[in-house]
């Protein structure tokens, strides 16, 4: 069972200095980048669930669990052990006794309980509430009906009990930075907003809003010998072309690449040595709204999958910086079925299907898209002539990101193209196809299939991991057949790093989020001192 998880992560291509067996060097500064925008929200990671903010939070904060990039699963971070009860709903956590906050105080069970209570503060609408709501009694706190979460019980200073509402693996819920554990009393002070105190390997040294965040080694970090570097400097650089110059100019140690630069870096004898590629758990799809008449017909949706030469687009336009999507779940997911072949490029078949559905003469639809280069208008532009060949005309409706998420969750679209999170938990990912899941949550295409509903309910109820995976695989295959989406690709995240930067992890959930304590720079770095 777990073995399968291990095997699938092997797909993650590891090319850079990740697996090298060198002795980590101490000292120096890691000059990392935060590529998703030109600022951080603030220094309170509870308020943001953006990848951009998690990039700095990983240096300063830690959550109950952490993502193990190599294992491809969440593992315990702040606790030594977690034992589940018989019914699988109550977990007893034993905290590690060597974890100290940056003010020198030892981690305590109260901190954990306070943090989750804090996340459920309804007036604050923290995005992390989404996860803490899984704890029994969390919703009551959110609605103001209770003061504390009833499902959390302190046993002693280093032990607490957590009762869940559903039978799920808490690891998948409490590993992101937005559920970082705060020191209870200190976090209530006003100064906390400017001076976050966390459990992470680095403590805040300097923050220039909109520019960079510098953190320095926390000597009492609980992993022995770590972190290695003296400092981590995280530069906020949203502009890819500027990042490119800075990287080539050796001003930064790592950079996330887009397709265009991926080609350039791969073709460069020097730069190509430092590329880390990972299949991320995001699936790029075009969603089709069944309330738009042609898309109500499965044959039309399949026809679209047949009509688009997806491989060609991936090869020529995305420059192979993606893996062909077979279905919903990504290859790293336990529910992924290798035996399934993706829709072939077959315009004739597409035409036939369209004719059967009564659209022999084609139709026209409006395609809502943002300007994102990997899952936005540039892709649509390449698709347009292909659909035109089978008689389908496309009108592009350009929107901004915030508008896209709004119109999609409200169903105010005919078709959209987006990148959707499909991991790491396959059950969570596939729940989006449960008919009870509202459109506002993630059932964007109003998917409704009795068989899928049943399989999902079964998977949620069972204790048998193998049956669970089997059910989920079946769901995934039904979704493939029903084709509510044009399955485009799974993202291949690529990080360029300088030769002196070591210890990067192939994080499939988001490559830009790294555990800095495992990273180090050798003496060739300009910032080696």
């Amino acid at each position: 069972m777990l073995k399968k998880l291990f095997i699938t992560t092997a797909i993650a291509l590891v090319m850079g200095g990740v697996a090298e067996a060198q002795t980590p060097r101490k000292g120096g500064t890691i000059r990392f980048t935060a590529p998703y925008g030109s600022s951080f929200a603030n220094l309170d990671i509870h308020t943001s669930n953006r990848a951009q903010d998690e990039i700095w939070a990983k240096a300063i904060h830690r959550s109950l669990y952490n993502w193990d990039a190599k294992a491809g699963k969440p593992v315990l971070e702040l606790a030594k052990s977690a034992t589940a009860s018989e019914d699988g709903l109550t977990y007893t956590f034993k905290l590690r006794d060597d974890a100290y906050f940056h003010n020198g105080r030892k981690l305590n069970a109260d901190d954990i309980i306070w943090t989750f209570n804090h996340l459920m503060d309804g007036a604050k609408a923290y995005p992390g509430a989404r996860y803490a709501r899984m704890i029994k009694g969390g919703v009551e706190v959110e609605k103001g009906q209770a003061k504390t979460i009833s499902g959390l019980k302190k046993i002693d200073d280093s032990t607490f009990e957590m009762t869940l509402t559903e039978k799920v693996d808490p690891g998948f819920y409490f590993w992101t930075a937005t559920t970082s554990i705060y020191p209870a009393e200190e976090a209530q002070k006003d100064s906390f907003a400017a001076n976050p105190i966390g459990l992470g390997p680095y403590k805040l040294a300097e923050y220039v809003p909109g520019s960079r965040l510098v953190a320095e080694r926390w000597d009492k970090f609980y992993k022995s010998g770590q972190p290695y570097a003296d400092k981590v400097a995280i530069m906020i650089m949203g502009e890819a072309s500027a990042r490119d110059v800075a990287f080539r100019n050796k001003e930064i140690d790592a950079s996330i690449l887009g397709p265009a630069q991926y080609v350039a870096y791969k073709g460069d004898p020097e730069l190509s040595k430092g590329l880390l590629e990972v299949a991320e758990v995001y699936t790029r799809v075009m969603g089709m709204n069944p309330t738009f008449k042609p898309f109500a017909d499965k044959r039309v949706r399949q026809a679209i999958n047949y009509a688009i030469d997806t491989d060609l687009i991936i090869k020529r336009l995305v420059k192979d910086k993606a893996y062909r999507a077979t279905s919903w779940l990504p290859p790293t997911s336990p529910g992924f079925d290798k035996s399934v072949k993706p829709y072939s490029y077959d315009p004739e078949k597409a035409k036939k299907l369209l004719a059967e559905a009564g659209y022999a003469n084609g139709f026209e639809f409006e395609w809502t898209a943002t300007s994102n280069e990997s899952w936005g208008i540039p892709i649509v532009e390449a698709v347009i002539p292909m659909l035109e060949k089978v008689g389908i005309k496309v009108k592009i409706k350009p929107v901004e990101g915030s508008v896209l998420s709004e119109v999609v969750s409200k169903g105010e679209y005919q078709a959209f193209i987006w990148s959707l999170s499909t991991g790491p938990d396959p059950q969570v990912a596939l729940k989006c196809f449960h008919s009870k899941t509202p459109q506002t949550a993630c059932n964007y295409t109003l998917f409704k299939n009795e068989q899928v509903d049943k399989l999902l309910d079964d998977a949620g109820a069972t204790n048998d991991q193998a049956k669970k995976v089997d059910d989920l695989t079946k769901v995934n295959n039904i979704v493939f057949e029903e084709a509510p989406y044009w399955f485009f690709n799974y993202n291949k995240a690529v990080m360029a790093h300088q030769p002196w930067l070591k210890g990067l992890q192939p994080n499939a959930t988001e490559l830009a989020i790294q555990n800095y304590e495992e990273m180090w720079v050798d003496e060739t770095s300009p910032a080696a001192k």
């Binding site: 890819a240 630069q261 350039a264 540039p378 532009e381 390449a382 592009i396 409706k397 350009p398 901004e400």
Partner: protein
């Protein structure tokens, strides 16, 4: 003698763009949108693709030609809107004076105080990116200079004998504004409009860079340039040609504006004497 060079070079450059725009369907090799063919993606310039191809395999030469239509539309329509708004407000404010003048002057100061790019940015965000939005955004945000000019001209012209004479002859206010004032202030306003057209083309590029410009299917130079900025090391031709097109157009318009100013703006005529 220099002013003639301005006018000639500016006129020639701008004329080139106008011809490119007018005859784009004839001159272009492929359809700017439907011409996508991924088999030809990112080919450098050669005899078939004069300016090379872009990431989607479209002929950049054809797209640049069609882009001229977009840029001309953006420049001309947005400036037309600006000019109409500016002239209507400025002319009437200068001529009538009083509270209306106070109001218009306040409005103009307001428009001057908000940097036009930021204003346009807001409007683009509200209306969603696209050509129509852009025309509105650029058309509504740059009339303050025209308005000030029209107001100042109206103020100075209204004391001119022929305006007084028209009043004495029983002309209505609107008729005086249209037949006596407007034709005599048109020169400098055309100059401002010409220079503003260049500004609009540049503003389109800036907004595209900020992700709020014209979006496909329109092949606008600004979005071509902005989208290709990541490929500047790998496939420089994708951005060089639209960039060059913007430069040539704006340069042409600026030179043309300067040249026209020498001819049409009586102030600078005394300047030369």
């Amino acid at each position: 003698m220099k002013f003639r060079a301005n006018l000639l070079i500016g006129g020639a450059l701008f004329g080139l763009v106008v011809i490119a725009g007018l005859f784009a369907p004839l001159l272009a090799h492929t359809d700017p949108v439907m011409g996508a063919n991924l088999m030809n993606a990112e080919l450098p310039p050669d005899t078939e693709f004069w300016f090379g191809t872009d990431a989607q395999g479209r002929d950049i030469y054809s797209r640049v030609l069609h882009g001229a239509r977009i840029s001309l539309t953006v420049g001309i329509v947005s400036q037309l809107i600006n000019t109409v708004i500016g002239v209507c407000l400025g002319l009437s404010a200068g001529y009538w004076g009083g509270w209306w003048d106070d109001f218009v002057s306040g409005l103009t100061n307001l428009m001057l105080a908000i940097p036009s790019l930021i204003f346009a940015l807001a409007i683009m965000a509200i209306l969603n990116p696209g050509l129509t939005s852009l025309l509105i955004a650029l058309g509504l945000t740059n009339w303050s200079f025209t308005c000030r000019l029209a107001r100042a001209s109206a103020l100075s012209l209204k004391s001119q004998g022929y305006v007084q004479a028209a009043k004495v002859l029983g002309y209505s206010d609107v008729r005086i504004m249209l037949t006596q004032l407007l034709p005599n202030m048109l020169g400098p306003i055309i100059v401002i409009g010409t220079l503003g057209m260049g500004g609009a083309v540049l503003a389109e590029a800036s907004l595209s860079f900020l992700g709020l410009g014209i979006r496909p299917p329109y092949p606008s130079w600004g979005s071509m340039l902005s989208d290709a900025r990541d490929q500047i090391t790998t496939a420089p031709w994708i951005s060089i040609f639209p960039g060059l097109a913007i430069f040539v157009t704006v340069l042409g318009l600026n030179l043309l504006g300067d040249g026209l100013r020498d001819i049409l703006d009586p102030q600078s005529r005394t300047r030369r004497a």
